[in-house]
Amino acid sequence: MDYAIQTKKISKSFGQIKAVDQVSFEVQPGTIFGFLGPNGSGKTTTIRLLLGLLEPTEGSSNVMGFDPLSEGQKVRENCGALLEHTGLYERLTALENLDFYGRVWHLSSEERKNRIKELLEKVDLYNRRDEIVKGWSRGMKQKLAVSRVMLHRPKVIFLDEPTAGLDPVASSAFRDDLLNLVQHSGVTVFLTTHNLTEAEKLCQQVGVIKNGKLIMVGSPDELKLLKRSAVTEIVGSGFTDGLITSINQLRGIESVVLQDHHLRITFTEGADSSFLVPFLVQQGVLIEEVRKGKASLEDVFLTMMEEEND
């Protein structure tokens, strides 16, 4: 088993709608894989396929060495999942919810007790364990649901928009916990999100899906390099018209704009920009500051979505 998760041209149609269209990717064990895409792009459907909750129309997949289609139960035994909904029993208390799933996963009563305490204390909900979940806020429910996912220490975790409804502090704490978990226990995480900053912070690999098609897979850095030309801004003096013309003639330059003492240089995709500063110094420019504009994943994502629309 080389990959924790692997799909081969997997597709799922609902009538005319191709919710997932020939999607292939691999997830290395012990890493976090982020699935990015706009609403209705097929993220949730992909998770359902991987958990054997839907049958693919075409193609195949593999989770921890098992085929979700024919060995669904083996797959699910190795996984934990936080799906679109929290899946909490709102008429029951927080403790009863976790206790039920603890039993489902065959934890002994001792283990259940300790693990529930440990997890709930971490999210500050242990004191409220005997409350009915119904009245809880969205964020509290989400935290409880995340605890439920971790309860049985699964090898693979599926998280469908895990920080939806969490406040910034809670999201950040959740991200830290998740990173910690992955580093220490070697679990593999497959998460979907709309939050690109989150994907950038968490994921070693990111897949971008749109209209059911996987349009790109790579590390967040790779994606950024691939898709957005880098921008360098130079603050200083000694910029002449002649200099601007000669910069424009260099290789890999897309545009040069001078505004007051700011020279804004855009490089073409993937171009090497390391020669720029020595070149300017050689030309007698006095440089006060060099700012390298790094495209955020969000910029890249938006550009990609626009390009696909064209």
Binding site: L53, A81, Y89, L92, R103
Partner: protein, 245 residues
Amino acid sequence: MINDILIIARKDLKEVISSRGSYRSGLMYLLIVIGVMGIMMPLSSGRIWLTEPLIPLVWAWFPILLVINVVTDSFAGERERNTLETLLASRLSDRSILFGKITASVIYGWGLGMISNLIAVITVNVADPGPKFQFYDPLVYLALVIFPLLACLLMSSVGVLVSLNAPTARAAYQKLSLVMLAVIIIPTLIGNFAGEKIAQQLTLIFKGVNFIQLGIGVALVILVVDGFLIWLAMQRFKRARLILE
């Protein structure tokens, strides 16, 4: 697997009892049910309650109603409250989920019936003290245990079938009501059209038979139907088809 079935049944029962807002009001409701079936009804009929199977059996419709309430909520209710998918994503097998749901509803309806029956014995003996404590006639008691069990099982399997693909518990309840209506109306219609002659013949046949044989026969028929319905539910339980949008 039995362990898993019981885990689900336990959770479902907890949910049913707390569905009235709190455990306390849920338990109050159960007490009222037991009070009516275990105290009021036997009080009004007296000692004959212990010897005449038809009287307690007539009251067995009530546990069956309770089964309907629980079972229509099983899959459809979990779907409605968005808990079904998470349950399906767990390690539980198809069968343990299915049988867990059936078990919960049967335990609820039949169990309440059984408790009420036992309380009825005390009620009758206390209200009308005889020379010695009187229990049910063994055959009567056997019928009281077996027929409600089979009937609850029947209701439960029909209910699960209906609930499996219903979007909400309410929709499942309505669908089940239609099925029940058909079950009651069709024989009545046949009876009306069949005319006097067949009715007379039937009466003759019934006069000739021994009630024990008839009971065994009826029980066997229900058992076969139960078996068929459960088999059908197992066939129709496909994880990949349980997620509806």
